[in-house]
């Protein structure tokens, strides 16, 4: 009851359905929480790179937890259908747990393990739970861009039974253990995924008892009908027109053009990526499921943010792309770092959407998460100390997000991805790596009426007696975020070793004993002309050191006298913070 009607007129069953819908969302939130609590990989337990959802027997997703990973949004919605097709309905039995890391039938690369569990109530199959988590290692070349085909990217687990009526497939476990760098962690994560579905299942059965349900058909139809109607209403309110958007980004060895044509119809929106660059030779290609996920996420944020994710609320967003373009890679293209391109899809879509609905979407931001993986090992140039070890350490980090039509961009905050960074104290407990610096990068946000969010600096080394390979997964080295409506570009990514020896934005690179990697992650772009910026905000930015004195003068036209006054005030603690 939010507003006006004095007399509740809603029928009792509608109210019950509303309650059940909310409950199902709570069930999947709890399912996701169980995964965070039991997972082993820092990517899941600290960063929240996971998703969880519940499905009806027709494989339609009814509810999905809001987690850090829009990339799983649509991808996981489609996954359960693939499982049923591969396993065969007649083989779906109580106590079963299914597994895959198929990039095309799961969520886009081998490093995402998807687990599906059928849910039985009074011996009757009533639905499915599915969850996905990003694991730190799956063997092969390690998490990075360097593979020339999927075969080099690690162990492939086709859709199969992990547990058959409660009995875990020990052969599978042995094969997994024998093929990955952190076997305990991975096996632990697979168990955590199974646990997470189990928790969801328990809560669902409790709900079915409480509401005396024998199946999910009624509540399923209610959810899907209402979501479809609400989503289509949002779309119908938009002008029926089309626009194109494009963005050029670094790619691996040569720049990549992302192109999209956005068509708004009565009841659906279509993103067509025709004209986008073809496949890259290295592992930054994107299966279409993942492109769909991010295009759809971008549109939902902009026009229908309040409608929960499910099969029907996602259906009106159609995404197509030519086969073997970089956003529709097919087997056996290498796809490990599909996120590098996938995270740039929203800014591309917004380039088009801004032409139709001005003053709605932000300027371009860092886009791609600034992730890297460190493979540490005992030094090989000289005898290593006894206690030197091997370890795989993955970290997630964010550049700045783009300025908005009426506010600054967010500093060091992910968009479109929503994963969290790992505490550096937790990271340093996972292996002999040392994060020497992780802090904001002044002057990296594009100037404008509203300033882009700041990127960040990081410095990475390892404990004495070790050397490492550094897997870089960065973009925006040569193509910084572009300003909107006269705002300036954000600062580009830079990467080098502490002795100035250059490094590449992507790929596995050796770092010898004693050296560190010096990173500067990109800032978001500005929005609107800098001349219109509120002088108080310029002063505030200078006081906080978001902008240097030089930038205040050069980019924002602040006078030398005003700058000196502010610097003096800070020294004496007289400034208004």
């Amino acid at each position: 009851m939010n507003t006006t009607s004095a007399h509740p007129t809603a029928r009792a069953d509608t109210v019950a359905h509303q309650v059940m819908w909310n409950r199902l969302i709570s069930v999947v939130e709890e399912q996701a929480q169980a995964l965070v609590r039991t997972a082993f990989s820092t990517s899941v337990r600290e960063a929240g790179d996971l998703s969880a959802g519940v499905y009806d027997t027709q494989c339609r997703m009814l509810a999905q937890a809001v987690t850090g990973t829009p990339g799983h949004v649509n991808a996981m919605a489609d996954a359960v259908g693939h499982f049923v097709r591969r396993i065969g309905r007649e083989n779906i039995l109580e106590g079963d747990v299914y597994i895959t890391n198929d990039p095309w039938e799961g969520t886009g690369h081998l490093h995402d393990i998807t687990v599906v569990t059928p849910s039985f109530h009074h011996a009757k199959h009533v639905g499915f739970f599915a969850c996905t988590a990003h694991i730190v290692d799956i063997g092969g070349r390690g998490f990075g861009a360097d593979a020339a085909s999927i075969y080099e990217e690690g162990l492939y687990i086709p859709i199969m039974k992990f547990a058959d009526q409660g009995n875990v497939d020990q052969t599978l476990i042995k094969i997994v253990r024998g093929n990955v760098r952190e076997p305990d962690q991975l096996v632990g994560d697979i168990y955590a995924l199974a646990t997470c579905n189990e928790i969801g299942h328990r809560r669902l059965i409790e709900m079915m008892h409480e509401f005396n349900l024998s199946d999910l058909d009624g509540i399923g139809s209610f959810i899907l009908d209402n979501s479809r109607r609400a989503t289509i209403e949002c779309i119908a309110a938009l002008p029926r027109t089309s626009a194109t958007g494009s963005m050029t980004i670094d790619g691996y060895s040569k720049p990549i053009d992302l192109k999209v044509k956005l068509d708004i119809h009565n009841d659906r929106m279509v993103c067509d990526f025709a004209g986008t660059s073809g496949l890259d030779k290295k592992g930054i290609n994107v299966p279409l499921v993942y492109t769909k996920a991010y295009a759809c996420y971008a549109l939902k944020c902009a026009i229908a943010p309040d409608i929960p994710n499910n099969a029907a609320s996602l259906a009106p967003f159609e995404v197509i792309a030519p086969e073997n373009s970089i956003v529709n890679a097919v087997h056996p293209a290498p796809v490990a770092l599909r996120h590098v391109i996938g995270h740039m899809v929203p800014d591309t879509v917004y380039d088009a959407l801004d032409k139709i609905l001005p003053n709605l979407v932000p300027a371009e931001g860092a886009g791609t998460l600034c992730n890297f993986q460190v493979s540490v090992r005992p030094r090989t140039d000289e005898p290593a100390p006894q206690n030197a070890v091997r370890a795989e350490v993955l970290t997630f980090n964010s550049g700045g997000s783009g300025a908005r039509p009426s506010s600054d961009g967010l500093n060091a905050t992910a968009f479109p991805s929503g994963v969290m960074t790992m505490p550096i104290e937790a990271t340093e407990h996972t292996g002999p790596v040392i994060i020497w610096r992780k802090e904001l990068r002044p002057d990296s946000g594009g100037a404008g009426k509203y300033r882009g969010g700041l990127g960040q600096y990081m410095e990475v080394g390892v404990v004495e007696g070790h050397e490492f390979d550094f897997q870089a997964m960065f973009d925006r080295v040569d193509h910084p975020a572009r300003g909107r409506q006269g705002g300036a570009n954000g600062a580009p990514t830079t990467i080098a070793q502490d002795d100035q020896s250059p490094m590449n934005g992507k790929g596995k690179q050796f770092v010898p004993h004693g050296r560190r990697v010096m990173l500067a992650f990109p800032g978001g772009a500005g929005y609107g002309p800098v001349q219109e910026r509120d002088p108080q905000l310029i002063k505030r930015d200078l006081a906080r050191g978001y902008i240097s004195a030089e930038a205040a003068k050069r980019d924002y036209g602040m006078s030398e006298a005003d700058i000196n006054t502010m610097m003096d005030a800070i020294t004496h603690g007289d400034e208004t913070p």
């Binding site: 709570s26 709890e30 609590r37 820092t42 943010p305 906080r544 004496h572």
Partner: protein, 693 residues
């Protein structure tokens, strides 16, 4: 509690009211006065005199005062702390600003993140580094700290937080910084992260120490003034403070660790509810505490409030998780939302009524207080809907103006939404009740609980007005409104034990299990925790509870495992493993085979015994309570006004019943019994509100 503490006073400063409860032997006297923001001790003195007069004693006869306050929380929410600097490890200046680098609301393109407590120019770094095993990688140079001390002096900071990377493993650099600063700036207040919150995860730890430093000057000066003022009144008894974990610490300890006072009022409320739960032998209780500014909801299982190691204060975005700042201290786990009697309503762009979190507070208060408030608050809606009697609010001490409420509702809601005042009040009331019901549902879900099995215990000035409707929304069949409901937290203070939880992060694998190290560590923690309790009472018997947090190696989240004293003092790996696997299987269904297990956090809680409760025998003779009047009451479930009997609570004797719709009035609050419920008075004076049929 000591035996001689025969006249005890509990004082709770809330956002709107200051509640004072005096317990003279078995008798209880209470008073509510408006909180005086500028000098909160004024209201305490005012209340003290009033309640002493009521009880017929002089202030000098009081033998013990237990105090809880929302001042610490409010200072954090309203950013009214001291001029504070953070000193941290070079390279990590922005930890408290960068937070988790994520957005707590995924689909809002215009989301803004809360500002850190300290702006960037108030955060300083020093060259130093400790690694993940506690070894020093870069030694701290004394001269660097001396130079920094000059900058701190020049800029005029009065309080400093020190938070260094991995200091929970090795605190020597933090201590060295303190020593240098103290020698150069003796008046500077200093807080160390290794003392305030020795826990892994830099964002939570730094934020906690910053919060402590930020409110320390304010709280220290307030507590000093309070003690002085009370002494002037001839009150020379010991004063203790309620802490967020549901126990009591000394005034001196509280002044050093004021962050431990955050949410102390609500913690007292949870203790109060736990005490009632024990009297009624209830194992599943939902405590619902609604005051002037916020509503607090807490799950109480087996008569023990649920506790946690981290919580979030000052949520900025519809109280959404992640929108506030994390504080890692031992705390009673509850959800708090901006829904109180003073919460203000407005109409948003989508023509929806929104309520809170802004509150009218005590100044100007809701429109009906006639102190200049023009925006309708929850209390205004309650008045217009007939839940409150304008002539009998707070025992008649504040005359309410129905005309003011009506015009505020019409002007701020009715005009935009084309509603009359009653419909606007209904809409406002339903929105705030639904907000609270949702918060309760989410909290229950996060804890894997089903509220249908729960009994609600309602207290706080505004709760009994809304609890009946909340029970309807949540499917809760039974509601208890104990006596003293209007001042529940303050009564809870008098039920709380002296207690303190000491904890430390030390990593140990079961495969490297070192019984001697463990026994020593737990003994040290027990000594530390016991020391805090001894500061309060040098004689009392003290119980120690041992708790370790365990997980499979590689997991990020631990589960708490309780140890007996014998298990703690003679630790062995097999027992630890068995206890862990039992609890893990209960929580998550199955254990993980062949994985090593580690212990990450060690905690010892020292506490004086909780006093035994007298069980309440349920009333079995039913007589209809007499009523001297009726008034029109809007029943939300029916969507219409109904004639409700008005019953004076002080006329209701054991076994007296009142069928809904009815209104049971008392000085400090009003119990609304909806048409769907009936009420019966139990032997201890509790009103037991039960679903009909």
């Amino acid at each position: 509690m000591t035996e001689d503490a025969s006249i005890r006073m509990g004082v709770d400063i809330g956002g709107t009211f200051t509640d004072v409860v005096l317990e003279v032997g078995a008798e209880q006297f209470s008073i509510k006065v408006l909180t005086t923001y500028a000098a909160p001790e004024d209201a305490i003195l005012d209340g003290l005199h009033q309640v002493c007069t009521k009880a017929g004693i002089t202030p000098g006869q009081i033998s013990q005062i237990i105090h809880g306050t929302t001042l610490a929380t409010n200072a954090l929410i309203e950013r009214r702390g001291a001029k504070t600097a953070l000193i941290t490890t070079q390279g990590f200046r922005d930890v408290i600003e960068m937070r988790t680098e994520s957005r707590f609301e995924q689909y809002d393109l215009n989301l803004n993140l809360p500002e850190p407590l300290l702006p960037r120019q108030h955060r300083f770094t020093v060259a130093e580094r400790v690694d993940a095993s506690g070894q020093v990688l870069i030694p701290l140079q004394r001269s660097d700290v001396e130079a920094l001390a000059q900058r701190i002096k020049t800029a005029g900071f009065t309080s400093v937080a020190i938070g260094l990377i991995h200091s929970y493993l090795n605190d020597t650099h933090e201590k060295m910084i303190r020593d240098v600063l103290t020698s150069q700036l003796p008046d500077l207040m200093i807080s160390l992260s290794s003392e305030v919150s020795p826990q892994m995860r830099e964002y939570e730890r730094f934020n906690t120490v910053v919060a402590n430093a930020y409110i320390k000057p304010l709280m220290k000066s307030y507590l000093g003034r309070l003690k002085g003022r009370l002494n002037n009144e001839g009150v020379d008894c010991p004063i203790f403070l309620m802490h967020s974990g549901g126990g009591i610490i000394s005034l001196e300890n509280a002044a050093d660790f004021p962050v431990r006072l955050v949410e102390s009022g609500p913690a007292g409320g949870a203790v109060f509810a736990a005490h009632i739960a024990a009297r009624y032998g209830l194992d599943k209780v939902l405590s619902f505490d609604m005051g002037g500014t916020t509503a607090k909801i807490c799950l109480i299982k087996n008569q023990t409030p649920k506790t946690s190691r981290v919580f979030e204060v000052a949520r900025t975005y519809r109280f959404k998780k992640g929108s506030g700042m994390p504080i890692s201290i031992p705390v009673i786990d509850m959800v708090e939302i901006g829904a109180g009697g003073g919460s203000l309503a407005h109409v948003d762009a989508m023509h929806q009524i929104r309520v809170g979190p802004q509150s009218a507070g005590s100044e100007p208060g809701p429109a009906c207080y006639a102190r200049g408030g023009e925006i309708p608050a929850v209390t205004d809606a309650d008045l217009v809907l007939g839940k409150l009697d304008p002539d009998n609010f707070a025992g008649g001490s504040i005359q309410l103006s129905t005309a003011n409420s009506t015009s505020a509702l019409e002007n701020k809601l009715g005009k935009t939404l084309d509603m009359n005042a009653t419909t606007a009040a209904f809409g406002l009331s339903e929105v705030v009740d639904e907000n609270m019901a949702n918060a309760a549902r989410v909290h229950a879900v996060e804890n894997g609980e089903d509220l249908a099995e729960y009994t609600m215990i309602a207290f706080g000035g505004a709760a009994p007005l809304h609890a009946g409707r909340l029970c309807e929304k949540l499917g809760v069949d039974r509601l208890l409104v104990p006596t003293g409901a209007g001042v529940g937290s303050a009564i809870g203070f008098l039920r709380a034990p002296f207690s303190f939880e000491a904890n430390r992060s030390v990593y140990m694998r079961l495969s490297d299990f070192a019984p001697n190290v463990i026994a020593t560590l737990l003994r040290e923690l027990a000594t530390e925790a016991t020391g805090f309790v001894r500061n309060c009472d040098s004689q009392a018997s003290i119980n120690t509870q041992y708790k370790v947090y365990m997980r499979y190696i590689g997991q990020g989240w631990e589960i708490p495992i309780m140890l007996t004293e014998a298990q703690a003092m003679n630790p062995d790996a097999a027992t630890f493993q068995r206890l862990f696997e039992q609890d893990y299987a209960t929580l998550f269904g199955r254990v993980v085979d062949g994985m090593d297990i580690e212990i990450t956090v060690w905690a010892v809680n020292a506490t004086t015994p909780i006093e035994a409760v007298e069980p309440v025998e349920l009333a079995n003779q039913h007589t209809t309570a007499s009523s001297d009047s009726t008034r029109m009451l809007f029943d939300a479930a029916l969507g219409d006004s109904v004639a409700a009997k008005v019953v004076q609570r002080n006329t209701m004797r054991t076994g007296h019943t009142s069928q809904g719709p009815s209104i049971i009035t008392e000085d400090e609050t009003t119990i609304v019994v909806p048409s769907s419920r009936w009420a019966i008075t139990q032997a201890d004076g509790t009103i037991d509100v039960v679903r009909k049929g």
